[in-house]
């Protein structure tokens, strides 16, 4: 059945972004309302689409060179994308509403909402894209909106730098992604997923080629989902407004990498070696980020590293060839991580942009709703039984247990760390006595902010139950119920939680300092060093070479030399008549020599 609904869902936010930029830039409240209305409309359309199986949408030709190269502008509307559609627009809608409160007094409110709408457009585009190029288009657009939103408070140097860092890192990932797309296109002759699938045999007959192509595509996901080694941008991206961190840097955009890998899973899964690499990258990211998170003091950075870590889990699932498990964790993670961020945002705004956890404390009394919902989120995150994270993380752990024991061990340890760092956060922030005036004077947030918290808390609790989640996606079922995996997971979780509570109860400052972790394994620093000694050095050399060698020496040298020759030549004209006569005679002799005797 043909329907224009996907078009509406996709274009409503774009229209809103355009309208705000062009017309209502000065009317801040109106801008925000337009944006919220657009995203609600989009959510409605998404729900309608979700309700109708077998829907299809009319297609445009974006670029059409006939058989040589054709990029349609079309949608894929299978179960996967319809679920993501609802998820993205739903969480998006919640965060739009939350933002009404969070950004109430912001000067750049119009710009913020325009960018938010544009982000919705881009993200929905990724979900709906039916071919690589279109996917890439929205992929980059998402990076662009992320840039704008991270840099929303552009006057702060940290925010401006973080925005750039995010975009650059994403670009590096996209470099690989585009190459991967090129390779796939060259070998199969198409960029449309549905056309590539039947021609997969061309690829599978060249295993090495296939592995390279798959890994290059994975590069894109590494950049977008902030996996090691391109994870460095995500913690910095926390300079943006907190709703952005919740929406973009926790629930949706960073998950796009996982979604993309699932979408092209049929290619990746054809290459076992690529899968192995992906799984290990996921494992390393999960471990690394969790370790770093244990030593951070900024509430949002802790959550950011937690995000990286959780995305690592999803990558493990992808690498173990289980799309279902990856999507399941993506689904639950979206709720509880958005919840955690919004909770953090609620604290931050009430504490007047204080983000250091050691300046908080005892907030459980001051912000009860925030506290309760935050705890729900935290429990979901650590995989506390009966909360959503428990189900999804368990699935992944079980998968790892089945297929790859070393990964399982690391993942289990990561689960322990997860519990440790989030409980550390909860304990330090919500209990004991307030450690700053702001914390003492804080108060609960308004309803427009707590409302979404409550909704998300419900979802974070229920999201993992089969009766709820089954409507949205295929829940993976293990063949036989392995009891050992949940037992081990719960043990790790309790150990971690207990350790955290024991260590951090009633502390006013960090009891253990691990420099290696505080300094992020020196990864950022080594990157800085690397860039300084490669790109910056080359840039300076090139600029110098161009300015002084090619331009000053060669170009100006030639012109100056010509001028100099001219200045010498004019000296022949010495002014003496007889010298002229002599030259005259010399010329004649030379001519006669040339003409007659040669």
């Amino acid at each position: 059945m043909k329907s224009a609904l996907p078009w509406y869902a996709l274009l409503l936010p774009l229209v809103s972004a355009g309208a705000i930029t062009l017309f209502t830039h000065r009317l801040k409240t109106l801008s925000s309302l337009i944006s919220v209305a657009a995203v609600l409309g989009s959510f409605l359309c998404s729900c309608l689409i979700f309700g109708q199986k077998g829907l299809s949408a009319p297609e445009l030709k974006w670029i059409d060179f006939g058989t040589v190269f054709t990029v349609p502008f079309g949608f894929v509307l299978d179960d996967l994308s319809r679920m993501m559609l609802v998820l993205v627009s739903g969480i998006g809608a919640l965060i739009h509403i939350y933002s009404l409160g969070y950004m109430r007094d912001d000067e750049g409110k119009s710009r913020y909402f325009a960018a938010l709408s544009l982000f919705m457009f881009a993200m929905l585009g990724i979900v709906l894209a039916n071919n690589f190029v279109m996917l890439f288009i929205f992929w980059e657009l998402v990076a662009f909106t992320s840039y704008v939103l991270i840099g929303h408070w552009f006057e702060r140097d940290a925010a401006a730098d973080a925005a750039n860092k995010a975009f650059f890192t994403n670009r590096i990932g996209d470099f690989g992604f585009m190459l991967g797309i090129l390779l796939v296109w060259m070998s199969t002759g198409s960029v449309v997923f549905a056309d590539i699938a039947p021609r997969l045999s061309i690829l599978t007959s060249h295993p090495a080629f296939l592995t390279i192509a798959a890994l290059l595509i994975f590069c894109g996901a590494v950049g977008k989902s902030a996996q090691f080694p391109l994870h460095v941008w995500l913690p910095d991206a926390m300079e943006g407004p907190t709703p952005i961190s919740a929406l973009i840097h926790a629930a949706t955009m960073v998950a796009a990498g996982v979604y993309m890998l699932v979408r092209v899973g049929f290619i990746i899964q054809a290459s076992p070696s690529a899968l192995l690499v992906i799984a290990w990258i996921g494992t390393i990211s999960a471990l690394l980020a969790a370790l770093i998170a244990t030593q951070q003091n900024d509430i949002k950075r802790i959550l950011a590293y937690s995000t990286i870590s959780q995305l690592g889990y999803m990558m493990i699932a992808v690498g173990l060839a289980s799309n279902e498990a990856a999507m399941f964790h993506l689904f639950t993670h979206a709720f509880f991580k958005a919840l955690l961020f919004l909770g953090a945002g609620s604290i931050i705004i009430m504490l007047h942009h204080e983000q250091n956890i050691w300046k908080m404390g005892g907030l459980a009394r001051h912000l009860p709703i925030t506290f309760l919902t935050f705890v729900v989120g935290a429990l979901a995150l650590i995989g506390f039984p009966l909360f959503s994270g428990f189900f999804s993380k368990d699935t992944i752990l079980a998968l790892a247990y089945d297929h790859n024991m070393p990964i399982f061990v690391v993942a289990l340890f990561t689960a322990f760390l997860t519990a440790f760092y989030i409980l550390r956060l909860v304990v330090v922030v919500y209990f004991a006595k307030p450690r700053s005036d702001a914390a003492r004077a804080s108060d609960e947030s308004p309803l427009v902010m707590t409302g979404p918290l409550i909704v998300l808390a419900l979802l974070a609790w229920l999201g993992g139950y089969g009766f709820f989640a089954r409507h949205f996606l295929a829940i993976p079922h293990e063949k036989e119920l392995l009891l050992i995996v949940p037992v081990l997971a719960i043990t790790a979780m309790i150990l971690g939680a207990g350790l955290a509570i024991a260590l951090y109860r009633n502390r006013t400052s960090e009891p253990i300092e691990v420099d290696l972790l505080r300094r992020l394994f020196y990864i950022d620093e080594s990157y800085r060093w690397l860039i300084h000694w490669t790109q910056e050095l080359l840039a300076s050399i090139s600029a110098f070479f161009d300015r002084w060698i090619i331009d000053a020496s060669v170009v100006r040298g030639v012109s100056g030399g010509t001028w100099g020759i001219g200045a010498l030549l004019r000296l022949i004209q010495m002014g003496n008549l007889q010298a002229y006569a002599f030259l005259f005679g010399l010329g004649i002799v030379a001519l006669i020599y040339f003409a007659v005797f040669r």
Partner: protein, 106 residues
């Protein structure tokens, strides 16, 4: 026997003397005379050619001799104008030495 070659050699020597005079002598007047000498060297060879180019009818080739007259006439005109200029130069600068006239250069 004086052949055409002898005439030509003499004319060549005259021409060379004239040219050397132009290059070496300081006074403009003498330079000018040297120039006339060069013209006359040409005249000499022209006449010689005329004498030795005997037409089938037995008469010399008078074309060349006509040319000689033209050269003499033109030379006279040149001298008239040239000397006037040199006189003007002397009046203005009180000199006819070539080294003294080199304000225009490079």
């Amino acid at each position: 026997m004086v052949t055409l070659g002898h005439y030509l050699i003499v004319s060549g020597i005259l021409f060379a003397i004239g040219f050397a005079g132009v290059m070496l002598r300081r006074s403009l007047i003498i330079i000018f005379m040297s120039l006339e000498l060069m013209l006359n060297a040409a005249n000499l060879s022209l006449v010689a050619f005329s004498r030795f180019h005997v037409q089938p009818s037995g008469v010399p080739d008078y074309n060349a001799q006509v040319f000689v007259f033209f050269i003499i006439t033109v030379g006279a005109a040149e001298v008239a104008v040239g000397l006037a200029i040199i006189v003007a130069l002397f009046r203005a600068r009180q000199t006819t030495h070539v080294e003294d006239i080199n304000t225009l250069k490079f």
